[in-house]
């Protein structure tokens, strides 16, 4: 199968996912309200006095729960007729890629929104924003891979919602550990050369697990 063929299947899928999400305003608003509410809650509890590392930890905790709850709806469409439709017309390969791209974009928007909210309420103390953004972006890509795969798994066990969280949390630790280390460095303002190995490790991890998810996903689809 050629790349063009793949792209022709993936692009409409991604637009479809976004349309679906925008139409589902209930979920969108509840996620926004969660972000706003939790950021303000932390503010009330004294988060505005937080030191750099605590600021970063709080940011990642908010992003973590936001992405987990967002991703838990990943494969809602996969029930009944829709599943049959996807299975026969599109196949597992394009579906997982489209889903990964969609989730990664969604989560990046979510995490940048959180960063914005944190800046408004607690002040932005990030020394090198570009590096910080790179950390957020790479972290979100990794998150989307793990969460998409675990949600696919949970969906196949007849939609057990808590199961996907249980499966995902330990797998997210390595990514979380790397990204938060990178982001702390970005806040302090370490020279770019010094974080190159962290950045490289994170990118390599993202690529590796992305490939792995792509290879493993078809096995989830057989009945």
């Amino acid at each position: 199968m050629s790349i063009e063929y793949y792209m022709s299947k993936i692009r409409p899928l991604i637009t479809r996912f976004f349309q679906q999400e925008l139409r589902n305003s209930n979920a969108l608003f509840s996620l926004g309200l969660y972000l706003l509410g939790i950021t303000y809650l932390i503010y009330l509890l004294g988060g505005n006095n937080a030191a750099d590392s605590t600021w970063n930890t709080l940011l990642w905790v908010v992003v973590f729960f936001g992405t987990v709850s967002q991703a838990s709806r990943s494969f809602d469409f996969e029930s009944g007729d829709y599943f049959f439709y996807f299975q026969t017309l599109i196949g597992p390969g394009p579906t997982i890629i489209a889903k990964l791209v969609f989730n990664a974009t969604y989560m990046s928007v979510l995490s940048f929104l959180t960063w914005g909210l944190f800046s408004v309420f607690y002040g932005n103390t990030v020394f090198s924003p570009l590096l910080f953004a790179a950390g957020l972006l790479l972290g979100c890509i990794g998150f989307s891979v793990v969460l998409t795969l675990t949600n696919g798994i949970a969906q196949r066990t007849n939609g057990n919602a808590t199961l996907s969280t249980v499966l995902a949390i330990p797998l997210l630790f390595p990514i979380l550990k790397l990204t938060s280390a990178l982001n702390v460095q970005a806040m302090v303002g370490v020279p770019f050369i010094d974080v190159l190995d962290l950045l490289g490790a994170l990118a390599a991890l993202d690529i590796a697990i992305g490939l792995l998810a792509y290879l493993l996903f078809p096995y989830l689809w057989q009945d």
């Binding site: 795969l149 675990t150 798994i153 196949r156 066990t157 057990n160 199961l163 249980v166 499966l167 949390i169 330990p170 797998l171 630790f173 390595p174 550990k177 790397l178 280390a181 190995d197 962290l198 490790a201 991890l205 590796a208 697990i209 792995l212 998810a213 493993l216 096995y219 989830l220 057989q222 009945d223």
Partner: protein, 202 residues
């Protein structure tokens, strides 16, 4: 195996500050982790071969090895915690290797939870094999790559003396390597018993 258990207590040891007699725990604690990684590796291998051949026996072997690996992880953690209490002064420290082992145990507990959530044999085998493969890669990243990038209280990291420099002399090695091999063999034996038990049950 017996040799390493008995001889580990009797053999002469090099003089080390702080560690002193507790270096004998090397034979037990470190070899537990070697055995665990070997068991998990076997489980990973059988998960791959299940996906390619769809043979349920492979799935049984994979689970049996994962369960045995979990047993070694528990033993390794317990011996490690006792050792840490007497040398570092705390049961638990924020150390990359400790975090790695905790995450590994969480991952495999999640694996068992996943298995319990399904009843249909073939589908369960396939889905848990997918999780097993993904989890093993993540585990290797967490226990194999991350600790090398950060400081650790364990030997060989962040300015601490390396594993092979002066703390592991030939007398220790004489017991340590047979201990590793012995524990891996014991693990294989336990796993094969569990495998046969599962086969009988099904």
């Amino acid at each position: 195996m017996l040799y390493s258990l008995v001889y580990g207590l009797l053999t002469s040891i090099p003089d080390l500050p702080i560690l002193e007699q507790s270096i004998r725990n090397l034979f037990y604690h470190v070899s537990m982790w070697f055995a665990m990684v070997a068991m998990m590796g076997g489980s990973f291998g059988y998960a791959i071969s299940f996906l390619s051949k769809e043979d349920l026996h492979k799935d049984h072997r994979s689970v049996a090895l994962a369960q045995t690996g979990m047993l070694f992880a528990t033993l390794g953690l317990t011996t490690g915690m006792i050792w840490a209490k007497y040398t570092w002064g705390a049961w638990w420290t924020n150390d990359p290797k400790l975090n790695g082992s905790a995450v590994t145990m969480l991952i495999y507990l999640a694996y068992f939870v996943l298995r319990n959530a399904m009843n249909d044999g073939r589908k369960r085998a396939r889905i848990s094999a997918v999780y097993n493969i993904f989890a093993f890669i993540m585990m290797i990243v967490f226990i194999g790559i991350l600790p090398r990038m950060t400081d650790s209280l364990h030997p060989g990291n962040g300015g601490n003396p390396g594993f092979n420099s002066y703390d592991l002399d030939n007398r220790l090695r004489l017991v340590f390597y047979p201990a590793v091999i012995g524990w891996i063999l014991v693990g294989t034996w336990i796993a094969s018993l569990r495998y046969r038990l599962r086969k009988l049950e099904s």
